[in-house]
Amino acid sequence: MSAAEATRLDHGDEAGGLETLRQGLRVSPELARGWWITGLLALTMTAGRIVVPIAVQQTIDKGLSGPGGPDMSFVAWMCLVCFGGVLITAVASYFTTVRLATNSERGLATMRIKAFRHVHDLPVLTQSTERRGALVSRVTSDVDTVSQFLQFGGFIFLVSLGQMLLATVVMFVYSWQLALVVLVCFIPLFASLRFLQARMSAAYGVVRAKVGEMLSAIAEPVVGAQVVRAYAIERRTQQRIDASIEEFRRTSTRAQAITGITFSIGGLAAGLANAGVLTAGVLLGVGGHATLGEILAFMFLVALFSDPVQIATQVLTDAQSAFAGWRRVLGVIATPADVVDPGADGVTQQRGPIMIEFDSVDFAYPEGELVLRDVSVRLEPHRRVAVVGETGSGKTTFAKLLTRLMDPTSGAVLLDGVDAREIAFSSLRERVVMVPQDGYLFDSSLADNVRFGRPEVTDAQLLAAFESLGLTDWLESLPDGLDSPVGQRGESLSAGERQLVALVRANIADPDLLVLDEATSAVDPGTEVRVNAALERLMAGRTSVIIAHRLSTAEAADEILVFDDGRVVERGPHADLVTAGGVYSHLHDSWIAQRSSS
């Protein structure tokens, strides 16, 4: 598989129906639990439906035109027996529905949870290239369509199939000639169904694509509310939205029209069959080969036969979207979690000072050129390492490899001599924590956010953590202290405040290696210097890697790695590099110029 494929989710429009079913059953074995009992119940249930045509035939042939005129007691007995049949059908129907619902809901809950978990196990790259909304619909609406289908469509499908079969059998028992007439009348329907079915699935395929476009157009003014207003692009945004809504309306209406036509064709076939049966019945009856009761019973049988055929076209369409949804969910589960947790087979490392080694690491983003080239560095324990370099030189990429958010394209990252790919996540994530460039906060309280990594931490410990970073004053300035709501994505805090919270959160997680990717870029210099000094104290004895554009951090580090166009071009302590006349001394010159120009 190429790297490009690896980052995309399987959108599931390829696998066949049976293949999907097989995969689906593997993911949710509950679906098939006791399937034969459900099958038997469904069969019993269909059997009960056939009693009505039989009753009609018996009444007309034996009850009404019996030798001694209409025979009341015969009809009464027969109706009683048939009534029993109807009752049995009802009971069987109840149990079929409940069994089907219970099994499918349990199976789908399992699938939902597996898919949810797998989304979190997906490589960061896949997570970030997929639209958030698309990922969410994998564990919501996509699963819901499958559930809808299994409980309605699937149920009807089971029943319809049985009903058609039984109706056919009874027809042949009554009169093979008439039965053949019915089947012949339905041939045009079966023939055109394939054609219509193809049109229908093409139409619904277009609709699905248009839904996606519409959703992303609608998302624009919601997620980008501020830019839309600041640049007054309301009109253009509205035009885009209107256009996508209109497209969706047009294509959906078209799909609906095709469905309508398909449906009506079933009714036409039934009409044709009725006419055919009556004509043939009269001709046969004239020759004494059919009774009135049989001919009339056929009319009821044709209804029993054609209803399922009509419903089946609908069910097939539902099935199509359900299977597409199912494939998409299974696609998520099947998308290789590139960065795999070795789990129980993995190494669990001792906590303590950590040593990191990059062994000729290359990295390229999918469809891109190498972003890191042949990076070989060794970061000793207890060290405070600064990473500097131009924008786009690969610093964040380096950090992501270091924390195993991604794996190198070639080469290896070793932690204490062990390949990161062999370390169990439970151990790795405990030892190595990164504060990303933009720290995400959940829409809950400050306390919840800070203890996200370690929910067992008490409020007192939280307060102590704020204290140790010198943030008590700030905390006290908030309206509700630790209980203050931070808003969506932390938007009720200022950008600098959000970064401070993310820092405290990482500090609470208490890792052996802390990686800060421009984690204080929006914090004012006074606070930054104070927080950094505090962090330096707190991280003493551990390893830290700090990416920063403000070179004050680099000056304070034990060692500096200088990145340029994906390579480590210089390394060493500040004092050595600053006079070396290389990339770093240039960077530092412009930093000094900025810092002190006045």
Partner: protein, 617 residues
């Protein structure tokens, strides 16, 4: 006729019917068309039963009894059934297409209204509502509001069908008709009881579906944090709670359905048996003939299924009402910004007057208070202040993303509140602190649909120091940047956002820490570029820049020092440095830190020397 009102209280069914009335009011012609088609379908369904009765008595039975038939008799039989089938098919197509047109038109109309509202409502309102919720208001909620429209024409058709059927049955035989009058109301009542039972269960399932979606949305949004802190298992546990609750709720819905369905389906069957029983008696007494019995029985078979459409409509009503309420919450939200008529006509650099501005997000907690300053045209002003002092808040006021509670803000002497809609953006451009990129191409993100030549885009990129990396991208300006610009590095995103502002050649440019993710060299070049572009030829731009770095500050003609929401000082950088200790503490922090380190290093070196001397001694 005015838009029918939907009561805010009362039973779900009553409110649901009110929503249906709105639908009919919105699309009267489409509705009339599909109901007509549906009535045709209903009439033809009944005609089918009648045709069977008629042909039993007039064609089949005579033929069987005589042992002979005529071509004409058979032909009339065939044409009768085929004719009915064709008309019915037309009815079915008309009904379905009509229902589809109506349903999708309503969806489109309401989606457009909801999104118009999103564009109109102020930013504050957006902050108060979770993104996930707003997206589902425009999508899923609109959809479920109009769900009942799909079966509605069929249901109306069924009512027509029942009327025709009653007439047909009474014409055949009053006693048999009475059986019908017993069975059909029972089917209807069973339906109503079913829907009543189902309503609370279905509503609960719907709520849980929203809960599942909310957890997933938030959890996936923060996926990077979840991953870096190794919380995948804990998040999965959190997701399990609503998922299992939804599972149980769905099973409960199906239990109810499983209990009622067989009853609703079985009643017409029992009806047929009753018809046969009663029919035999009527035939024996000579009051009816076999054809009548067959006709009525067949009618029962034909109507048994369509009559359930009534139940479908009723069944969708609770969902529809919930959807309607959620959509209405958006549509009736108040507080679009008021705009005036004034225009900004000048093409020279803008003048900015801020007087006595007070603003707070929460009641009783001012974020800005007594803010007052003036920026003369063409000047560059730096705003400096500690984290959380209200700098970004001030930029949102200056661009009228929010209005101050007190005081006024004027550009070229015109109060922002009196400006016409969209007028301000023609003169003022803001580069926000967090660069937001749309899921679009680089060009689209810079022009935002405006009419700019590629040259202008490249010019803007050049000043923002973004031309180099954009050129090296495989598709150049047409490269897609992904949701929120995830395929770019942090500094690259900021430069696109900067170019977006520059391409508009604003008369007032506001930069909110817009180069924080850019390395010092590139930043120096951006600043130099800005200096020539902005202050070059005719100094056509006034600049307000939020910054911490001295290089940026030194570019400014004057400095505003903002502390805890107040202007603590105002003057040139040198003046402030001289007279304000707090200001010094902020801007000199790096130098002080460096000096402290050097001292420490020297001290350590001395200690080392002492140590080694001591050792050698």
């Amino acid at each position: 006729m005015p838009l029918p009102k939907v009561p805010t209280k009362g039973s779900v069914t009553r409110r649901g019917f009110a929503v249906l009335r709105v639908a009919i009011w919105e699309e009267p012609w489409v509705f009339a068309f599909s109901v007509l088609a549906s009535a045709l379908y209903g009439a033809m369904t009944v005609a089918d039963g009648w045709a069977l009765g008629w042909s039993t008595d007039h064609v089949i039975r005579p033929a069987l009894e005589r042992g002979d038939t005529t071509f004409g008799a058979v032909a009339s039989l065939v044409s009768l059934f085929l004719g009915i089938a064709v008309l019915r098919a037309i009815g079915v197509v008309g009904r379905r297409v009509g229902a589809g047109v109506m349903q999708y038109r309503l969806q489109a109309t309401y989606r457009q209204r909801v999104t118009r509202q999103y564009l109109k409502l102020p930013l504050e309102w957006h902050h108060k509502h979770p993104t996930g919720q707003l997206l589902s208001n425009a999508n899923a909620d609109v959809e479920s509001t109009w769900y009942p429209i799909a079966p509605l024409p069929m249901a109306v058709g069924v009512i027509a069908m029942l009327a025709f059927a009653t007439v047909a049955m009474f014409a055949a035989d009053p006693w048999l008709a009475l059986v019908g009058c017993l069975v059909f109301p029972m089917v209807f009542v069973a339906n109503v009881i079913f829907q009543r039972t189902l309503q609370p269960l279905a509503t609960r399932a719907q709520e849980l579906r929203a809960a599942v979606s909310e957890v997933a949305h938030e959890s996936f949004d923060g996926a990077l944090v979840v991953k870096t802190l190794g919380r995948e298992a804990a998040e999965t546990e959190r997701f399990k709670t609503p998922t299992f609750a939804l599972q149980d709720a769905n099973i409960a819905v199906n239990r109810a359905r499983g209990a009622f369905d067989p009853v609703i389906e079985g009643l017409p069957r029992i009806g047929v048996l009753l018809v046969l029983l009663v029919g035999v008696g009527r035939v024996r007494s000579g009051a009816a003939d076999a054809g009548d019995v067959v006709q009525v029985a067949f009618l029962f078979t034909l109507i048994g299924f369509p009559i359930r459409a009534l139940g479908w409509v009723l069944g969708e009503l609770p969902r529809s009402v919930v959807g309607w309420d959620r959509v209405q919450r958006v549509l009736t939200a108040e507080g679009g910004m008021e705009y005036g008529e004034a225009k900004l006509t000048s093409s020279a650099a803008a003048r900015l007057d801020v007087s006595a501005v007070r603003f707070g997000y929460l009641p009783d907690r001012d974020v800005l208070a007594g803010v007052e300053f003036t920026v003369e045209p063409g000047r560059t002003v730096a705003v400096v202040g500690p984290t959380g002092s209200g700098k970004s808040t001030m930029t949102t006021l200056l661009t009228r993303l929010v209005d101050p509670e007190e005081g006024s803000i004027e550009v070229d002497g015109v109060d922002l509140r009196t400006l016409a809609r969209g007028e301000l953006a023609g003169s003022v451009a803001l580069v926000a602190q967090t660069a937001f990129l749309f899921d679009d191409t680089i060009r689209g993100n810079i022009t935002l649909g405006g009419d700019y030549a590629d040259e202008e885009v490249w010019d803007a990129l050049r000043i923002a120091q973004g031309d180099g990396f954009v050129k090296s991208l495989p598709h150049g300006l047409d490269t897609k940047v992904g949701e929120r610009g995830t395929t770019l590095s942090g500094g690259q995103r900021q430069r696109i956002a900067l170019a977006r502002a520059l391409v508009r050649r604003p008369r007032l440019l506001i930069l909110d820490d817009a180069t924080s993710a850019v390395d010092p060299q590139v930043e120096a070049r951006i600043l130099a570029g800005l200096r020539t572009a902005v202050q070059g030829s005719e100094a056509a731009t006034t600049v307000l820049v939020i910054a911490y770095r001295k290089a940026t500050i030194s570019l400014a003609d004057e400095v505003l020092f903002l502390d805890e929401g107040r202007i603590a000082d105002h003057g040139s950088h040198l003046e402030l440095q001289e007279r304000s200790a707090a200001y010094r503490e902020l801007v000199d922090a790096y130098e002080k830190d460096a000096a402290r380190r050097e001292e420490e290093a020297e001290l350590a070196a001395e200690l080392n020397d002492l140590d080694s001397e001591g050792a050698s001694a």
